[in-house]
Subunit: 334 residues, 4 copies
């Protein structure tokens, strides 16, 4: 393994917004970086007795490590982040309900007069060797082993137009997309809105269900290895993800159908450009061949992906083969 930049945030050096934060390090395209991230609770929830509303200090939630400045990145470019590996750094992950947050409760926006759901914490034992996380019920003795499936909930860049957004918000700059598809082997393409791109990551999940229904996944501190690349002069309108098998566009909006619409429209355009298919022809193809993996249905914007198997997309590779190149280069860092 060569040329691996290592970054672990000093105490107090975590960021809580995309935008409005000075870079913690300068990287260059082609570089690999290993980044340590805290969990969404900043590591303060360690036992089932640590209620987040008591041990966390608002609004200091969902910290990210970064931002990282990428040499040469200017607005109109695309930042490619290839996820080489995501490794839990503790032997456990934590989850919880959270007052007035989640899909099956009234919230800040879906305002009701009902009392909040009970705030409750669950601790999951991570068995890396077995590849499992162990769910343990709090009101009975039931346990269930679930597959360990590390992912990054939050990946983003500094937003456009001078905005700074809480890390909890997903939008066109990325942010808290909370999709299980940002996992080892995936390449994330992000728009560059400011000089240097200023990307940051955080909110690792040992695993997550579609939509993150209760609002909190199996939250875990992580060590992540990324390959950083820059695609000059090619804009990307919304976060996209490429795996060996699929092309994916992310849409983040409310109501949820708008997240669906945004993601589907971007994939129609992307597939149209790759294949030469006229717009309605691409729309038709994806209507039959596409899938719609759900990211989150709990954050300030909801996130859905539009995805399609690359076997059904005749035409040149995306971004001139960036994913395949990064995939090959990643071998050096495994």
């Amino acid at each position: 393994m060569t040329d691996l930049y290592e970054y672990a945030p000093a105490p107090g050096a975590l960021a809580y917004t995309f935008g409005g934060v000075a870079p913690v390090a300068h990287l260059r395209p082609g570089q690999a970086v290993r980044i340590a991230t805290e969990d969404c609770f900043g590591g303060r929830v360690r036992t089932v007795d640590d209620l987040p509303s008591r041990v966390c200090r608002f609004p200091y939630l969902n910290p990210v490590s970064g931002p990282f400045h990428v040499a040469g990145a200017v607005p109109g470019d695309t930042l490619a982040l290839h996820v080489v590996s995501i490794t839990p750094t503790r032997d456990h992950g934590m989850s919880s309900t959270f007052p007035h947050f989640g899909a099956l409760t009234g919230t800040h926006a879906t305002a009701t007069l009902q009392p909040a759901l009970e705030e409750r914490v669950w601790r999951y034992e991570i068995d890396a060797a077995a590849g499992t996380v162990r769910y343990a019920a709090r009101r009975s003795a039931v346990t269930v082993d679930l597959p360990l499936a590390p992912m990054l909930g939050t990946v983003g860049v500094a937003p456009a137009a001078g905005e700074a957004r809480m890390t909890i918000v997903p939008d066109t700059h990325g942010g808290n997309l909370d999709t299980p598809r940002i996992r080892p082997g995936a390449t994330v393409y992000l728009p560059v809105f400011v000089e240097g791109a200023l990307f940051a990551i955080g909110d690792g999940h040992a695993r997550q269900g579609d939509g993150e229904a209760c609002g909190v996944a199996v939250e875990a501190a992580m060590s992540t290895v990324l390959l950083v690349d820059l695609i000059k002069g090619v804009p990307t309108p919304t976060p996209r993800i490429e795996s060996d098998a699929e092309l994916m566009s992310a849409g983040s909006a409310r109501p949820l159908e708008d997240a669906y619409r945004m993601s589907q429209r971007d994939l129609v355009g992307w597939v149209g450009a790759l294949t030469g298919l006229e717009t309605l022809d691409a729309y038709q193809l994806l209507s039959q061949a596409g899938t719609a993996p759900v990211g989150n249905v709990v954050d300030a914007n909801y996130t859905m992906l539009a995805a399609v198997d690359k076997r059904f997309v005749p035409g040149g590779p995306a971004y001139d083969g960036a994913h395949a190149r990064l995939r090959a280069a990643a071998e050096a860092y495994r």
Copy 2:
């Protein structure tokens, strides 16, 4: 194969509502039935020159075969329909765009002042032996072979409270759920709201992408074999589906997040009842273990499923093992 009731609708005998229609046949629990269904266009769209708005007669779209009266079914029971097989009866399927219908266009409800998208028809050749449907672009020579994956878009019963609903509408009575999960090997559980249940099926798809983005799948006339069963005295609040691998609840509503909420809440309750998990414990388990397959994001209500792998659901089988029993009984009809 024994005791297989065969039903093919006479010309003019198709139904366009759930509710308000007299039964076409009387079945009894345990019986198998083979049902012929027309495609959503009533078979009138045969070539790419047959524009639906010209050849179809509104509101006579999305016809169903039925309804079928099930002996002994009364409100509060659950109707179980096990899908033994779904076989295209023509060598092709048809799709189209449709003025002001679909996810990526203004619609009747999402009212805009923009002109409609072009109405365009696509014809898919079905190769049953190869297990493919062939997409052919209309504005270029591109073709793509996609897996043949037959499903029923519309399965439902007569609704409650004296209502009659157009077959295009999905709701708690089923209807046009448009989920690829209603496929061979699945058991669909439906609430019984009226004496005899009065179920009907239609809208076969040779395949469909998640959300049915353009509003129309690969529409195909089908021959479907169902096993009909009745679970007495057990109510079902919303359509549920069980496969060998998964338990699924359907929610149909607008906006799309409400379809997500309805489906997730039903699955929380269902899994809680099967496992003895307290409600928040079940919510937590599904938040990490569950998936959210998208049905349609185009109909009068949108449909999402909440799904969970049965390996993650400790406890007794659903509906006392109805699915396994029907699965076994289905062997006689293959």
Copy 3:
């Protein structure tokens, strides 16, 4: 007062759907009719101790009187109902919260895991002479006199396409629009979908706030005088209301912005047709001159109106002056 048909439903003769019900009387265009209606509880909630969930029998809520057959009405015509008067027939109105119904609570569709709000009943004394209804708090001695402002929550016809809809649902056929603008002096224009139109009315409110936030207005049995008219060969796409001062279009949909869009688009078209303004010119005029009175934000569909002061609409009167004619004819029935 001449030629006033009087209708009071016999016990058991109330209707709970639009569509699927035989007419209770035959009227002819130009005729006046006095109709007695029960409140949304069917008169069963009389004291603050009568909890609706105990004394009402589901789904038998929101009864309407009718339907009435109008001679000569055929699909494509417009039914005009001019509201001459709405008079409470008891000295009180009732309101309540209702489990999982209302804007500030989780509901059937906006499904949450929180417990329902307390079910509580309020009784309002109606002082017709003073023109007030008296709010009385249940947990303190506070009372507030509010203006008596009688209106009809539910006005509709049999829907299209063989549907039958619960009276609680507002849609293009009218139904439970729950707008305070259907009050004495207003003319309601409804599409005719079936021979005879089959209109019905109910759900009188002694008054109502915008959106009917808690889900229940000041519910009151009413005696309503209507003038019935028919506008032959002129279709109406969605319920419209005309008062001496305003033109209004109703949109009913979820999410609420779609109700806004539907109502605004219909008014753009209507005003365009009356004035000869090109579409974007009409859109611009209404963007500056229009208002958007909220109907309900609690029913199966939400309802908003688009309204405009007639002084800002140059051009011919709507429906060839039907409102003015009916307004004049109504004098005979005051």
Copy 4:
């Protein structure tokens, strides 16, 4: 008139975000300030031939004047801005359609494949003496005189949690609420999230319809006189407005029903606190007595108000009578 601070931004000194901008002036509680604001186009659209997409430079739209630092303001306080007067500074206002922006078109989020509506500009002559603005159709000779009704579309403070938001976004910090109720005689209450509050204003409208349907009001440069006050130690959760007649809470969210819910819930709490009414009693009172004026249905969040006539709210005045005091003090500045 005494002690009136005058502020007119130098060229290039306009702000495009709330947050992330240094104060342009320091004010103290009790001070009056006259502020010059540009229109939402930055004054670049002057004739019907100036298409915004050509003459404006993105994302530099909807500029505000400010921010202003208020001495002594700290998080947890409430900033009160009493609107003494809003006076157009030109003899005309401008409006337009705008590609993929507005209620009756697909948008960035409600993504469709349809082409954009035509971009068209309308010029309104303002006759201050007559109190009118004159609409003039572009595709015909129709003109309509509408009442001049000046208002501020954008009023806000620096947001919480280190965020910076484009001025076009309404949220709990205020921003682009686009409600006609922010007009002369109104007091706007805003939460203080940062030291000094850092408020700014802009986006004057000569008038606006409910919802600002086409996305653009009658945009006008304005001269506004405000009285600035600070209510120490009293937090305000979301923007509130008080007039002589009404109390109003603003909610900004998508979908629109969430804006309704947020505004209604805040008003329930506010009225409960003023009157001593228990929560459900306050909910009931507002359900019958409240109104729901629509702000915008076009911005990044939609805005609705919950309003109630103060005659129906027994109890002490809001914010200890701040509005009445400011109203009286404003006399000196007329």
